[in-house]
């Protein structure tokens, strides 16, 4: 394996709340090599978005970050704001879920695209505008010159997300983080956007993290998958290996709960009973134990570490792996 472009080392994020400290991310380790794709999967509140904010150093002001986020040999958490600002764009870029809120509604598409390139690449306005039109064409937007003069509200959701991707790609980042990039979109447009991201990722040899709640999205489009539950990574393995042999009961339950196109209809879906634990009241044992059908006393009492005891290249945090 290549040397890591990104390595997240024992990162924890704690948010103060009126009910006490909330551990949104709990000692997560991840690494990603250049040109590789990592899927981070989990349900709402599992900490996947907070983890991506921690990597990007975009955490809420009051959040407390522990651990190191090493990117290209530098600890992002220790960088000054100005140094970070220079990194965002040419090194690190992000595509958010909702392109309506991530784009500025009072600036044209062209202004938003061009200002990034002028600031980071030192292009003059004519060159930046030309490059902007090229980028829009690359992300599949018809009539790019006209689109540059339009405002975000004049575009559909899918088109806005393409613009957001064009902006993210404009400075040729080494790492792109896509946080639920297709959740707000229709299934046909979702497929187009995911294909676009995959194509650009290969073409640019860019590393990418796709954050999603949909195991279907990561199955065909990632090299490695990390499953998160209650702030922790509970299983991490190369994608084919993960789907061939899930070790963590949560991952299996998550997959089983999706109605399959080839499963018998009208049957009871294997739902996961209950809901995730209150993040301000961490459990002493495995966080999934209250909902897990394999759980016993050991699971209630002691937290299983994320480990690879069989040295098979697949990590899981479970006392009773499948």
């Amino acid at each position: 394996m290549d040397t890591a472009l990104l390595s997240v080392e024992a990162v924890s994020v704690v948010l103060p709340t009126p009910r006490g400290p909330l551990k949104a991310v709990d000692a997560v380790d991840l690494s990603l090599a250049p040109g590789r794709t990592l899927g981070v999967v989990g349900e709402s509140g599992c900490g996947k978005t907070m983890l991506s904010r921690a990597i990007l150093q975009l955490l809420p002001k009051r959040a407390k970050l522990d651990g190191r986020v090493m990117f290209n040999g530098r600890d992002l958490a220790a960088l000054q704001p100005e140094a970070l600002r220079r990194l965002r764009g040419p090194e690190l870029a992000v595509v958010f879920q909702d392109p309506m809120t991530s784009l500025n509604p009072v600036l044209t598409i062209g202004t938003q695209l061009v200002e990034t390139m002028q600031a980071h690449l030192g292009l003059d306005s004519a060159a930046a505008a030309k490059r902007g039109a090229e980028l829009l064409a690359e992300v599949g937007i018809p009539a790019p010159e006209q689109r540059l003069r339009q405002y975000p509200h004049q575009l559909s959701g899918g088109m806005r997300q393409r613009v957001a991707i064009a902006i993210a790609l404009s400075c040729e980042p080494k790492l792109l983080i896509a946080d639920e990039p297709t959740t707000a979109l229709d299934v046909t447009v979702q497929a187009q956007i995911l294909d676009l991201l995959a194509r650009e990722q290969r073409r640019r040899h860019m590393a990418m993290i796709i954050i999603t709640h949909d195991l279907g999205v990561v199955a065909g489009r990632t090299d490695e998958v990390a499953v998160m539950y209650a702030g922790r990574v509970v299983e991490r393995a190369p994608t084919p290996q993960l789907f061939a042999h899930m070790r963590m009961p949560y991952t299996e339950a998550l997959l089983a709960a999706i109605p399959k196109l080839d499963a018998p209809p009208h049957t009871t879906l294997p739902a996961i009973a209950g809901r995730p634990p209150d993040p301000t009241r961490p459990l002493p044992g495995c966080s999934f134990a209250p909902r897990c059908r394999y759980a016993d006393d050991r699971c209630q009492g002691a937290k299983p570490p994320l480990a690879d005891p069989e040295r098979a290249g697949a990590l899981y945090a479970c006392w009773h792996p499948l």
Binding site: E43, S44, G140, S156, G157, G158, M159, D186, V187, T188, V189, Q190, A191, Q192, L194, D195, H213, D214, L215, G216, V217, A219, G220, R221, T239, P240, F243, A253, L254, L255, A257, I258, P259, K260, L261, A263, P265, H266, T268, L269, P270, A271, I272, A273, R275
Partner: protein, 330 residues
Amino acid sequence: MNASPPETLLAVADLKVHFPITKGIVVKRQVGTVKAVDGISFSVGRGETLGLVGESGCGKSTTGLAILRMLDITSGKVEFEGEDISAYDRGRMRPIRARMQMVYQDPYGSLNPRMKVADIVGEPLVVHGLATDKDKYRARVAELLKMVGLLPDMAERYPHEFSGGQRQRIGIARALALEPTLLICDEPVSALDVSIQAQVVNLFMELQERLGLTYIFIAHDLSVVRHISDRIAVMYLGRIVEIATRDQLYKDPLHPYTQALLAAVPIADPEIEAGRTQQIITGEIPSALRPPPGCRFHTRCPKAMDVCKTVDPPMRERDDGRAVACHLHS
């Protein structure tokens, strides 16, 4: 379940819902028409689930609202339990509304945050004058909460104290308060997490079995729709382009749009994903203000022929009971 169920509960014939676009403040003049629903026909049998799928803007929610008469119908007929309700005013709709209810997508926006759960669930009883006896009313609310898997002592709490899945259960309990025969469910599980979504889908199926409910299940998630539906209608730009039983539709989709929708569903299996023949349509749904001439799908259709650009394909019923509007199958 076969394609023509024995007893028809709801029959929709050539339903159109058009919205005028006006300009000017004092003197309003019409400058265009959004044909949100433009001539659709289908029927739903008692105890059956009809899935209604399509991309955003295809008119599936408008169809649901028009059946409930929460929107004015431009033309066409809606027959519910043998009664033509398409011209009914508010007053005459009131007793009908008790028998057809809506479950909304957003469990956050559809519950009044200042009302207690008991009042939310019991409100339809009050509105319809069925809350005369206090004890009976309380007992009914408790029974409804139990029916959807909530604890009766949750009745005194407010919506913000509940998770998304629990809120959706509250919405379902409210819809069931008047013992309706038809539930129109508009994207009822789309806002929920996978593990919670499965719980709510299971609840819908249980309730149908127990209460003999009929569902119109509107959704964009084809795997959920397949799981719960007996028959499925696929909508595109205000029209139904294909209607078939679940097995027919998923095993052998006829309309290129149905094929494209199915091909776009991500499958949680890397081997299947790698081996799939991607037949993905490009572009997005055109504006309902200016639908393309001919077949409305021809601008995105990978199999479009010359005739598709000029001639609007009619809905043709086939020998196997399914119907499709496509020149390839006429």
